[in-house]
Point group: C3
């Protein structure tokens, strides 16, 4: 069903997202199981949502045990080595950027293969990238970072758009996939490093 390169990218992104989920879980003082749940949710929610929306059920993240295994491995490693992980500078954001790029690209490819049009494929690629992070943050009752860090979702959007454009222009799928992933990661990394921000509406402190 999935070609080998896509499977490898998917599992790598799964590991990266699972670490970001586990790190947040440890920070929130969840117990071991809560940390593993957050690992799996952060790693697979975006892909599961994409698969459900294109009718590819059961989602590959549930049908293929390797996604679960990789998520649990990443969660256990983070749970037991969290101090070392925390010592790294912003590990959550960095791993998050890797997973974002990989998932946005593979997600857009799967959406195109499922017959979605350009706008739908870009949306689903972005969702594949940001869905896990949204689920991760909502599960600990926080406003998803994606709504507060514009270059997060914009980076995924552009990475997915690169894949869709490459498909429309007849480029080799691998080429546009690599290009899209590099573009997405680079944008997100720069946004973190240089604190890029989009304008905020209203003004004054947030009203609750």
């Amino acid at each position: 069903m999935t070609s080998l390169p896509i499977l490898v990218l998917d599992l790598a992104g799964t590991f990266a997202f699972a670490i970001s989920g586990a790190t947040l879980g440890v920070r929130k003082q969840l117990d071991l199981f809560g940390v593993l749940v957050l690992s799996f949710a952060a790693a697979t929610a975006g892909g599961i949502a994409r698969d459900v929306l294109i009718g590819a059920v059961p989602p590959v993240a549930l049908a293929d045990w390797r996604y679960l295994a990789v998520s649990l491995l990443a969660g256990l490693v983070t749970f037991h080595a969290h101090e070392r992980v925390e010592r790294l500078r912003n590990p959550v954001q960095l791993f998050d950027a890797v997973g974002l790029a990989l998932f946005a690209v593979t997600g857009a490819g799967k959406a195109l293969a499922a017959g979605l049009g350009p706008s739908g494929a870009v949306m689903l690629g972005m969702l594949s990238g940001i869905g896990g992070g949204i689920a991760r943050d909502l599960l600990v009752a926080e406003i998803p970072i994606v709504l507060r860090r514009e270059f997060y979702a914009v980076a995924a959007l552009l990475g997915a758009a690169c894949v869709v454009a490459g498909d429309a222009l007849g480029w080799p799928a691998a080429l546009s996939a690599i290009g899209g992933a590099v573009l997405c990661f680079a944008l997100r990394f720069m946004a973190i490093r240089h604190g890029w921000q989009l304008p905020v509406g209203g003004g004054g402190p947030p009203r609750r």
Copy 2:
């Protein structure tokens, strides 16, 4: 797939809900992208949930670029004209009531067309109406207004029930759709204007 009148009603409701989402996003000081995400979520989450639950995938909100375009337009207008929008009295609630009525009615119709029984069609009509508002509120980590304003969901429920009853009685679809939409909007508008409330259980201040 969708008849013209239903498409027009859908896009009108999409615009209305997107404005309610964008207005909340601006109030919460989300950045431009967060505001647009909230616009799209508020506008399409209910319909997407309905389509997934009846197996109509990919959901029309993703397959048809016009829903995305209308959501982004409403989001951009609200982002840049938020002060004028805020100056209107309770714009969120008013636009919300319009979208609620339109979505409850079209959602019930689509559920019937998908073969759902009466109770299922009423539930899905109500979900089509309230799903966007629930997603909108949850994305900013708030208890959905639907759980605190009883005539919100009840209005959607009765609007959808009107469509289901009309179908059972063999009325023309357009007639019961218009009747249901007017009934839903009128009830919601009166509830806002007169502060209609349902009884609250327990007593004393909320415990957290």
Copy 3:
């Protein structure tokens, strides 16, 4: 589609979960409708998620009016008798444990019938059990209890695993279902009674 024993177990679990949802709704001072929405969400979200993930749409909880009727009945009873319900010791947790055991077992069985592999069936069984509670807690903007009470999800996991193992070993379905349900409930009950906890990562107070 569903055998009688499974239907009866399903409706019993629905009633139990609906009461846990309604009790939380009353505690949060939601109005009558909010309480009923929470009843239905707590009772059916797990099963609906499972059905969507295995492609069994429309979900039985929407197609079969009895799930709605049972949820509303439980919600109304709890709303009007909440003081008596509250006087019982931890009614939410106890009813929750009953629903957890019943849903984990029936969910795993449905996943196997849908062709899921062992790991997928265990995951979906657990999701059937914990999904309603997750939806219930998220709808009132709280971190789901499942992420903070390890033996909650672990109990569901082991109950579902018992059904999957029994299927692999060719045991009679009813036997492994009853065994799994008893195992799950017993573990959850002991965890509540003896305050079983899993290790928590990090250390020090939660950082927000």
